[in-house]
C-alpha cells in the first residue's frame, strides 16, 4: 500500500510543480494546494498505514494507528488553509489592481 500512496504523492508533486511554473495566478495557487496534499500524504505514509484501529481509546482495542502523524497533519492542514485563503485574497486583489492575472505582466519599474 505504501508505495502506491508514495507514487500518488509523487504525481501530486509533479502536477503541483507544473502548475507552479505557469503564469496565471489561479494555476499557481492550485499548485500550492496540490503540493500540501502531497506533503500530507507523505507524512501519513511515514507513520505506517493500516496498522490497527483509529486512535480513540477503547478497552477492547490494543493496536492503534500512529496518532502523532495525524496530529502533525491536522496542524498542517489548518496552516495551509490559512495561507491558501490569504494567497487567494491576495491574488484577487492583485488581479483587481493590475487588471491582469498574468504574473509575467506584473513587473515593477526598473530601479524601483
Amino acid at each position: 500500500m505504501e508505495y502506491i500512496i508514495l507514487i500518488l504523492a509523487g504525481i501530486l508533486f509533479a502536477t503541483a510543480i507544473y502548475n507552479l511554473l505557469q503564469k496565471q495566478l489561479l494555476r499557481i495557487i492550485i499548485g500550492t494546494v496540490l503540493l500540501s496534499h502531497g506533503a500530507h500524504l507523505v507524512i501519513l505514509t511515514m507513520g505506517k498505514l493500516k496498522r490497527g484501529q483509529p486512535p480513540i481509546l477503547d478497552d477492547a482495542v490494543t493496536d492503534y494507528t500512529d496518532p502523532l502523524p495525524q496530529a502533525l497533519i491536522l496542524t498542517s492542514i489548518v496552516i495551509s488553509f490559512g495561507i491558501t485563503s490569504l494567497l487567494l485574497v491576495l491574488a484577487y486583489r492583485t488581479a483587481q489592481e493590475n487588471k491582469t492575472d498574468n504574473i509575467e505582466e506584473m513587473r515593477g519599474e526598473p530601479n524601483e
Binding site: M1, I4, I29, F81, G82
Partner: protein
C-alpha cells in the same frame, strides 16, 4: 602611553580640535597658523632623538590596544623610522606654512583641509614607527583614505572626484594584497611584531609561503609608490591642491611603499625573486616615468611623472642593494649595501627638491593662473626668487653639481654598475641592462628638468595668454618654505656627511641588520676622480642638451604610440567592461520572472537530492513490510489520479477549481480508510471553505479576466516537474523502507491516564503538544487579519474608476 606615543598621535588629537578653532578664529587668523605648530613640535621632538639613534640605539615603547589579540601599538624607532619621521614632520611643517599663503581663508573650507592633512600626517607617522603589522596596515589604509579625501578636496570638480576614486581603488587594492601578505607572514612566524619576524628570518625563508607573502606585500608597496603598472593614479591625483601634491604625492605617501620595501628587506632580501621584482620593476618605472614626463604640457603632470620615475630609481636601488643580504659581512656586502645607502640618500634628496619644485609650480599657478607650459614663458625677470628656487630644484633633479641630486645620481650609477656585476642570481646576464636603462632614463630626466626650467622662465613673456593680468613675485610667506628646501639642497651638497653620519647610516643598519655603526664605512664625496660614473654624468649632460635643443624634431615620435595601449586606457576600459559584464551577467539570470526563479530552485533541489541519492548509493527499496491493498483503495486512488489530471488538462477555470475540490474530498476518503477520523473531518470542512474561496476569487473576477485559457506547454516545465516528482517519490520510498528507531507512539496511549482524554489525536493537539496548536491558532489569526486588511484597505489612487471596484 609614553611621551613619544603622545607625540605620534598628536596630529589625531589636533584633528579633533581644529574645526572648533576654525569656527572661532578663522575670521581673524588663518587656521594654518594653529596647525603649523603640530608638525613643528613633532619635528623638534624627533630631532632630539637623533643623538640617541645615531649611535645605533633604538627606541621601543609599547601601548596596549587589543591585548587579547596581541595587537598593540608598539613604537619601534630605528634609523629608518627616524629618517621617514623627520621627512614627514619636516616637509609637513613647510607644507602647512606654505598652505597658509596658498589657501585663501575666505574662499576655502580650511577646517576640512587641515583635518584631512592632520589625519594623513598622523597615519603616516604612525605607519613608519609601528612595530605591529596590523597597526601598520590600519595606518596604511588610513593614509589611503585621507589621501582620497585630500585629492577630492575640491569635490565639486569632476576631475578631482575621478582622480580620488582612481587613487582609492588602486591603493586599496594594493593595501588588501599587503594585508594578505602580512597575514601570511604572521602565520609563518606566529607573531605580529616586525622585530620578532626579523629574528625568525630563516623560518620565513624556508617556508613554502615565502614567495606568495613576498609578492602580495610587494603589490601593496608598488601600488602605494606608483610603480609600473600601478603608476596611473599619481598623475590624476594632481587635481589636489598643490600643497597636498607637494606633501603626499612627492614627499611622503608615495614613499610609504619605499618604506615598506626597505622595512621588509631584512626578511626577503638576498633572494633572487626579490632582487628581480624590486630591482626590475624599479628600472621599468624609472624609464617609463622619465619618458612619459617629457611629453607633458602641464607642469604638475610633468612633476607627477618625474616623481614616478624617481621613485622607480629609489626602488631599483633598493632591489639591487638587497643583494647585500646574500653575503655575510665583508667587501661584497659593502658593494651592494652602498646601493641601499644611495637609495636612502636619494630618498631624502628627492623629498627636498621635489617638495621645492611643487611649491614653485604652485607659485606659478597662483600668480599667473595657469600651469600650462605652452602659455607660460619669460617669467625669469618677473619672478627672480621663484626662478632661483626652480633652478636649484630642477638642476638637482637633473643631477648636476653643486646640488645634492648630483651626489645621489653618481651613487645611483655606482649602484647600477655594481648590479651589472651580479653573478649569483638567476638570469644574471640580464643585469647588464640595469646601468644601460639607468643611463637612458637619466638622459630623459635631464631633458624634462630642462623643460621644467626653461619653458616657464625663459623665452618671451606672453601676458595676453595668461588668465591673470598683473603678474608679480609671490608673497614672502609662500617663498620661505621652498627657499628652505632649496637651501637644504645646496647645503647637503657641501656637507653630505653630516646627514650621512647622523641619519642615513642608522637607517642603513636597520635595512641591513648585519651591519653596525662601526662597520658602515660610507663617506659621500663630491669628487672621486675620473671614473665611469663621472663619464656617465657627462654623457647625460651632453646628450640631454642636444636632445633638448632638438626636442621639436623627435617629440612627434610620441604621437605614433597609440592611446589604446596606454595603461590609462586599459584601466578605464577594464573598469567599464567589468561594470557592463557584471550588469549583463546579473540581468541574464535575474530576469524578474517568477517562473525562472522557481525553475532554479527546483533544478537545484533535484540536483542536490539526486546526487546525494546516487553518491551514497541509497536507492534500496524494501516493500516486504507494506500494508495490504483492497479494491476500494485502488478505486479511490484511481479517482484521485483522474481528478489531478483533470486539474492539469482542463482549459476552464471552473473545471479546474471543481477538480481540485474533488482531489481534496478524495483526500478525505483516504483519511477515512487510513483510520484518521479527525483528519477526515477537518479536511472536509477546509476543502469546502477553500473551494468556496477559489470560486469567489476567480469566478467573480472582473470581466476581462474571465477568458478561458489553456496552459501553455513548455518542455522544461514538464521535465522539471517530472524530475521533482520522481525524486521525491524515490526519496520517500527509500525512507519508508528504513526504520531507525521504534516510534514513541505507545507513550501517547496513556492519553487517558495522563490527560483524561480518550481521543489520542486531540490529546496530543491540546495537551501533549499544545504549544503547536497555540501558534497554529496565531497563524490563522494573522491570516484572517491579512485577508481583512487586503479587502478593506483599498488603493486610493487618483484615478476614480478604481473606486467602483471596492
Amino acid at each position: 602611553m609614553s611621551l613619544l606615543h603622545f607625540i605620534i598621535l598628536l596630529p589625531f588629537f589636533a584633528a579633533i580640535i581644529i574645526p572648533y578653532i576654525y569656527k572661532k578664529f578663522n575670521a581673524k587668523i588663518h587656521t594654518g597658523w594653529f596647525v603649523v605648530v603640530i608638525p613643528l613640535v613633532i619635528l623638534i621632538h624627533l630631532a632630539l632623538q637623533i643623538p640617541n639613534i645615531s649611535t645605533g640605539d633604538t627606541i621601543l615603547l609599547s601601548m596596549p590596544w587589543i591585548p587579547s589579540l596581541g595587537i598593540n601599538f608598539d613604537i619601534y624607532v630605528d634609523g629608518l623610522a627616524l629618517l621617514f619621521g623627520l621627512i614627514i614632520s619636516g616637509i609637513g611643517t613647510l607644507v602647512v606654512f606654505y598652505s597658509i599663503f596658498y589657501m585663501d581663508k575666505k574662499r576655502e573650507e580650511l577646517h576640512n583641509f587641515y583635518v584631512y592633512l592632520l589625519l594623513f600626517m598622523g597615519a603616516m607617522l604612525g605607519l613608519v614607527v609601528s612595530d605591529n603589522v596590523f597597526v601598520l596596515y590600519t595606518l596604511w589604509e588610513l593614509t589611503s583614505v585621507s589621501s582620497f579625501l585630500l585629492i577630492a578636496y575640491w569635490y565639486e570638480r569632476k576631475k578631482s572626484r575621478a582622480g580620488a576614486l582612481k587613487a582609492m581603488i588602486i591603493t586599496v587594492f594594493g593595501g588588501l594584497a599587503m594585508l594578505a601578505g602580512l597575514i601570511l607572514l604572521t602565520m609563518i612566524t606566529d607573531t605580529y611584531s616586525l622585530r620578532e619576524m626579523f629574528a625568525n628570518v630563516t623560518l620565513i625563508t624556508e617556508s613554502s609561503l615565502f614567495i606568495p607573502a613576498m609578492v602580495l606585500i610587494l603589490i601593496g608597496a608598488f601600488t602605494k609608490s606608483a610603480q609600473y603598472p600601478f603608476s596611473i593614479w599619481l598623475p590624476d591625483a594632481m587635481e589636489a591642491p598643490t600643497p597636498i601634491s607637494a606633501y603626499l604625492h612627492s614627499a611622503t605617501m608615495v614613499k610609504a611603499g619605499i618604506y615598506l620595501v626597505a622595512r621588509m628587506t631584512p626578511i626577503f632580501g638576498g633572494n633572487a625573486a626579490w632582487f628581480w621584482m624590486v630591482g626590475g620593476i624599479g628600472v621599468i618605472t624609472l624609464i617609463y616615468g622619465s619618458v612619459r614626463a617629457v611629453r607633458q604640457t602641464d607642469l604638475k603632470a610633468l612633476l607627477a611623472f618625474s616623481t614616478i620615475s624617481q621613485l622607480g630609481l629609489i626602488m631599483s636601488l633598493l632591489g639591487v642593494g638587497s643583494a647585500a643580504l646574500y653575503f655575510d659581512i665583508g667587501d661584497a656586502q659593502e658593494i651592494y649595501a652602498f646601493a641601499i645607502f644611495a637609495a636612502l640618500f636619494h630618498l631624502f634628496n628627492h623629498s627636498t627638491f621635489k617638495g621645492a619644485l611643487f611649491m614653485v609650480v604652485g607659485i606659478i599657478d597662483h600668480e599667473t593662473g595657469t600651469r600650462d607650459i605652452r602659455r607660460l614663458g619669460g617669467l625669469m625677470s618677473i619672478m627672480p626668487l621663484t626662478f632661483t628656487i626652480a633652478l636649484i630644484g630642477s638642476l638637482s633633479m637633473a643631477g648636476l653639481p653643486p646640488f645634492n641630486g648630483f651626489l645621489s645620481k653618481e651613487m645611483f650609477f655606482t649602484g647600477m654598475l655594481s648590479a651589472s656585476e651580479i653573478s649569483f642570481f638567476t638570469l644574471e646576464e640580464l643585469t647588464i641592462l640595469f646601468p644601460i636603462i639607468a643611463w637612458v632614463a637619466s638622459v630623459f630626466t635631464f631633458i624634462y628638468c630642462l623643460i621644467l626650467l626653461v619653458r616657464p622662465f625663459f623665452g618671451t613673456f606672453k601676458p595676453d595668454k595668461l588668465p591673470k593680468e598683473k603678474i608679480h613675485e609671490a608673497p614672502v610667506g609662500m617663498l620661505i618654505p621652498p627657499a628652505i628646501l632649496g637651501a637644504l639642497v645646496v647645503l647637503i651638497f657641501f656637507f653630505p656627511n653630516l646627514l650621512a653620519n647622523y641619519i642615513l647610516k642608522p637607517a642603513l643598519i636597520s635595512v641591513i641588520p648585519g651591519m653596525t655603526m662601526e662597520t658602515v664605512p660610507f663617506k659621500i664625496t663630491a669628487w672621486h676622480g675620473f671614473q665611469t660614473e663621472l663619464w656617465m654624468t657627462i654623457g647625460v649632460i651632453v646628450l640631454g642638451s642636444i636632445l633638448f635643443v632638438a626636442i621639436k624634431k623627435w617629440n612627434i615620435a610620441f604621437r605614433v604610440y597609440p592611446d589604446k595601449l596606454s595603461l590609462n586606457y586599459l584601466y578605464s576600459n577594464g573598469i567599464e567592461n567589468l561594470e557592463q559584464g557584471s550588469a549583463s551577467f546579473t540581468n541574464r539570470y535575474m530576469t524578474g520572472s517568477i517562473r525562472h526563479y522557481l525553475l532554479y530552485i527546483f533544478v537545484f533541489i533535484v540536483l542536490i537530492l539526486g546526487t546525494a541519492l546516487i553518491v551514497f548509493d541509497a536507492i534500496t527499496f524494501d516493500f516486504s513490510n507494506n500494508a495490504y491493498v483492497t479494491v476500494y483503495d485502488i478505486g479511490i486512488l484511481a479517482a484521485m489520479v483522474a481528478a489531478t489530471f483533470t486539474v492539469l488538462f482542463t482549459k476552464n477555470r471552473i473545471t479546474a477549481i471543481v477538480a481540485l475540490g474533488a482531489v481534496g474530498y478524495l483526500m478525505v476518503m483516504l483519511f477515512v480508510i487510513f483510520r484518521a477520523p479527525d483528519l477526515a473531518m477537518t479536511q472536509m470542512v477546509v476543502e469546502t471553505a477553500t473551494t468556496v474561496l477559489f470560486l469567489l476569487c476567480f469566478y467573480h473576477l472582473p470581466k476581462l479576466e474571465k477568458k478561458i485559457e489553456k496552459m501553455k506547454f513548455k518542455v522544461t516545465n514538464l521535465v522539471v516537474s517530472l524530475a521533482v516528482g520522481v525524486t521525491m517519490t524515490v526519496l520517500t520510498l527509500v525512507a519508508t523502507g528504513h526504520q531507525l528507531f521504534t516510534p514513541i507512539t505507545t507513550f501517547f496511549e496513556n492519553a487517558y491516564e495522563l490527560a483524561g482524554a480518550k481521543n489520542i489525536v486531540n490529546a496530543i493537539l491540546v495537551d501533549f503538544r499544545g504549544f503547536d496548536t497555540m501558534l497554529e491558532i496565531a497563524v490563522l489569526l494573522i491570516a484572517g487579519i491579512g485577508v481583512y486588511t487586503l479587502v478593506k484597505l483599498q488603493h486610493k489612487g487618483s484615478d476614480s474608476d478604481e473606486a467602483g471596484t471596492k
